[in-house]
Symmetry: D2
Subunit: 349 residues, 4 copies
Amino acid sequence: MSGKLRAAIVGSTGYGGVELIRLLLQHPEVDIASVISSSNAGALYAEGYPHLSEIITDRLEAIDVEAMKGKADVVFLATPHGVSTELSPKLVEAGLKVIDVSGDLRLKRGDVYEKWYKHKPADPAYLERAVYGLCEVFGSDVLGADLIANPGCFPTATALGLVPLLAEGWIDAETIVSDAKTGVSGAGRGLGLSYHYSEINENTLAYKVNRHQHTPEIEQTLSRVAGQQVTMTFTTHLLPMTRGILVTSYAKLTQKRTDEEVLDLFRNYYEGRRFVRIRPAGKWPATKEVLGSNYCDIGVSVDERTNRVTVISVIDNLVKGAAGQAVQNLNLMMGWDEGLGLAFTPVYP
Amino acid sequence: MSGKLRAAIVGSTGYGGVELIRLLLQHPEVDIASVISSSNAGALYAEGYPHLSEIITDRLEAIDVEAMKGKADVVFLATPHGVSTELSPKLVEAGLKVIDVSGDLRLKRGDVYEKWYKHKPADPAYLERAVYGLCEVFGSDVLGADLIANPGCFPTATALGLVPLLAEGWIDAETIVSDAKTGVSGAGRGLGLSYHYSEINENTLAYKVNRHQHTPEIEQTLSRVAGQQVTMTFTTHLLPMTRGILVTSYAKLTQKRTDEEVLDLFRNYYEGRRFVRIRPAGKWPATKEVLGSNYCDIGVSVDERTNRVTVISVIDNLVKGAAGQAVQNLNLMMGWDEGLGLAFTPVYP
Amino acid sequence: MSGKLRAAIVGSTGYGGVELIRLLLQHPEVDIASVISSSNAGALYAEGYPHLSEIITDRLEAIDVEAMKGKADVVFLATPHGVSTELSPKLVEAGLKVIDVSGDLRLKRGDVYEKWYKHKPADPAYLERAVYGLCEVFGSDVLGADLIANPGCFPTATALGLVPLLAEGWIDAETIVSDAKTGVSGAGRGLGLSYHYSEINENTLAYKVNRHQHTPEIEQTLSRVAGQQVTMTFTTHLLPMTRGILVTSYAKLTQKRTDEEVLDLFRNYYEGRRFVRIRPAGKWPATKEVLGSNYCDIGVSVDERTNRVTVISVIDNLVKGAAGQAVQNLNLMMGWDEGLGLAFTPVYP
Amino acid sequence: MSGKLRAAIVGSTGYGGVELIRLLLQHPEVDIASVISSSNAGALYAEGYPHLSEIITDRLEAIDVEAMKGKADVVFLATPHGVSTELSPKLVEAGLKVIDVSGDLRLKRGDVYEKWYKHKPADPAYLERAVYGLCEVFGSDVLGADLIANPGCFPTATALGLVPLLAEGWIDAETIVSDAKTGVSGAGRGLGLSYHYSEINENTLAYKVNRHQHTPEIEQTLSRVAGQQVTMTFTTHLLPMTRGILVTSYAKLTQKRTDEEVLDLFRNYYEGRRFVRIRPAGKWPATKEVLGSNYCDIGVSVDERTNRVTVISVIDNLVKGAAGQAVQNLNLMMGWDEGLGLAFTPVYP
């Protein structure tokens, strides 16, 4: 209808899916053609999400490649581990463009995927074919691609905070420690004691210490940028808030630098990229300052006493960390302005 | 510039002001011409609100009617009690359209204002001239007006939940009790021990019991609709959340009714008004289901045992309860579609 | 051991159970003899509750009346609907004292229980035998009893706020509306989408409107005190906090009264009852002011305009609303000081 | 009265002061003799803290050394920077025992204090005389002391997580990075925009990056234990919760170690110290698991890939991080059991 690009969303009942709907509803060049879920087909979408009453009146559809072929041009996969592994090849063969928001196609090496995800990896040909869509770093690969591996939430925030330093060799790759903090929505809508309100309200804890599956994804990006194997320490913490990721990264500088020198490096690296904003010296971003938006805000501090640089990077995990970057990848893929449909001012307070 | 309507925002550094900026940035027919504050003139706006870095690059301006006359067509007042009393007449005389988001012009009777607000009331001529912009009830008054008294947050949620019942005489006006719950942002950005995080987190309390200044505003609306003097009980509670108002209203039905009859009454009354959504029987809305949006969602329940009807109405206090309805009033005033620039899907979760 | 009273806790893995453990650990005359759960027998208790590491080193035991008979003097039941119905008679017959924290034995009429709980009611003889332990109102019934129905959380807070007014006939029993707000822990440790952090954080909603099973329990108490059938409107709301209940009750005064007269009524009624504290005129309690303690704090306001009185009462739902009142009932039952083991100062902030 | 030790609390209206009151009320050997504040003398204490209504009926007293001499044996100082600098010498000379919960006497070197606190340091003789009361590490110094510098909240959590490793030379002191997260109550009751509910709810941010005044205090402890100068990177983050500190510390191991080896090291080091609890391998503590209690819970993880050890340590900042450790120091000073009056089970959930 109307000459717009038609989008289908598989896994539309999860938080990544519902955020895709919020964003695509604002996109001037996209129509939502189908909301799809592996369970619950036939139910009214808005029954599970009353905030979309009178906005989304569609019913959920089952996963059906033929049906998607008939009604969609692009398919977003906001699915649990393992679904995209099976589904993406079929969709691509059916001539559909695919943006995979899950983790299935992000790691180029199947053995690494298997080690960290404890799942069977996807077909190597498709791992190879998938373009890793970290827009501000590898965005030029995305134009014209038909299969995008959309980066994870932690890898987006962490890599954007470290890439300029590694690209220029300003930090010692052996010394990187990234300490990540996330809101609870990152864990999705699936129930669990750790996400039960009475347990995580007024509480914080570390989880999957030294075992988080986003670790190799970050390392893959950093290694590619650094031109050498980067092995790092990465820790995740759950915070009593719904949205937001803040990553504090530490590394030794290879030579003395000032705050301003480091800030200039970041400003130059991200020049012209509207979704990365650099705070001035002595200021650091807060997660709420990007809430609901596609921004990644970054602040830095050099410690003369230890010659370490500290980088703080924040995103909304459901936007820049998932649905927003997926739309940004769609824009790049189609050759549109990368900010199309993403001009959301953060919701503050 | 560009033939758009030029808006100035006085009191732009409060939460009502910054929310107006978020909404007007999305409005296709409005340019933000000036951000104004009684203090801090000359400072960069985004220094106080880093989430608007690189979005709002303006500096704060002092209050200056002549300057506004030169650069703006419409002025929004998001100011503390007493400012609009002085400023609105000057702005109107200068030929500017004024939308007053403060409480100064809402009550038609100056003596009532003085009793509840403990402030000197505005000039009676301007109290008379100000159009009370409760859009779904009195929206037809707004077209072509030059001075709008934008309703308060509690009065909006409370009145929208009671007006259909009173308009049709379905409830006994003597029996109305409204129990309101609000997020903390309603208290603004000014510091206070009650809004200190450690005090109000994991806490709830009633405040201004039987003394809240929004009481006469609600009664004025209900009386006008009912065609008789309505005196009610209204209580406000502070909740540990930032945004959202939920009002639970109780009244005796004048005769037996079913849930469906009451729901039909509401559906008919609000037919064609996109920002009011009625939940089906047995379902009640949650504040998060309207967060960031201009919706007022309503659910009802009739209790056969007591012959009371319970109405639950929710809004985002900063949107439908302040900045959003102000923009809606601007749309109505200009003869535009009332939803222009307000097509925000609620942010969920 | 040590001549202390030996307590067993059935349903010890729920929030009511774990709070009983916290309180009984401080009780000078009680030893925790057994922690019991219908599932998970054999597991170390502290594995599910690491905050009790090195404090509770016991393993969970299965429900076994004979075993309890051998090792306990009193049994606390912190179990889901239906368990006490079956278990209490057996325990009483085995000569054990029973304090039932569940709702099974609170309603004297089995048909009313069945209507609101949708469960089969307990044996009428045991409904009759169970003493309803609202300590500050019916405490004199408790001494020497062997079967206590411990009041529900909402009924405790609501009734304590209304009983003095009804006992003296100061309010019109036909006009009572109680609007209750609760923290999420009242829903227990069982998972549910409504208690999923990302759903209820920064959110509030009404639930079970006109259908909450605590309604007849409150009415039973109020009717008994008033000496006439009381039918009321009672609504519950879920708030984004873990602990705490605040109930705002409204009723028409039968004649003009001042704040001070009403406060004196309350002060006189609760004289000598240390766990009820009355705020002075113009002040109302906050839930955090009783957090972690057995207090019920109360504030009132008379509205001359409507001749309604508003009563605000707050408790910690897990203490005065469950485990704390259960311990208080134990104290009364045994003829001990009612505050034994309950001298917890609220945890603030 | 009653032969108990008489305690005065200076700075009793802050969060550290009110928490001291909560704890001392439970202490079997201490009476609260005087609640003191530099402002507000004469006011009823409970007016500012209604949760203590009918519990603390005293009025606030002004700071008066002579008066304290007459009525107290020990004085707790829970005061802002600079007060103890002036007051402690006078109190000690008056023969009173002093436990200083502020930061004034913690750093042995006045020049270091001046650099980080931007305040004039205390008299070197008193800096020397003050015993640094990190109970589980330097507790043996405390017996019989008359002037205690009670450790800061971050230094307590951070040092307890690193001391065993440094004491045995298991980590490279050049590689330590500690990433700290704190609840908002650590900032006290003084108002500030950063602690305004609407700003910090649903938000997290870093602050004082590379400039936090607790850095040299941690380094002083680590250096003393390691027998060499330790310089580290220390970052603090504000979290949307009231109580709790979680510190994640990272360091390179000097040789390969397993989780179990590191855990054994911790278990041995803290053997017999009831307030430190070590989680088993693969488990890490949450702040809520110590809320309201004097525990410091610790978990560790060794990463074979990087040969770094990660240590997670949690405390309640107002208890083990302030008032609780102060009472523990009183116990050690007096030769009492270190747990006297501190047998609080954490409040969970």
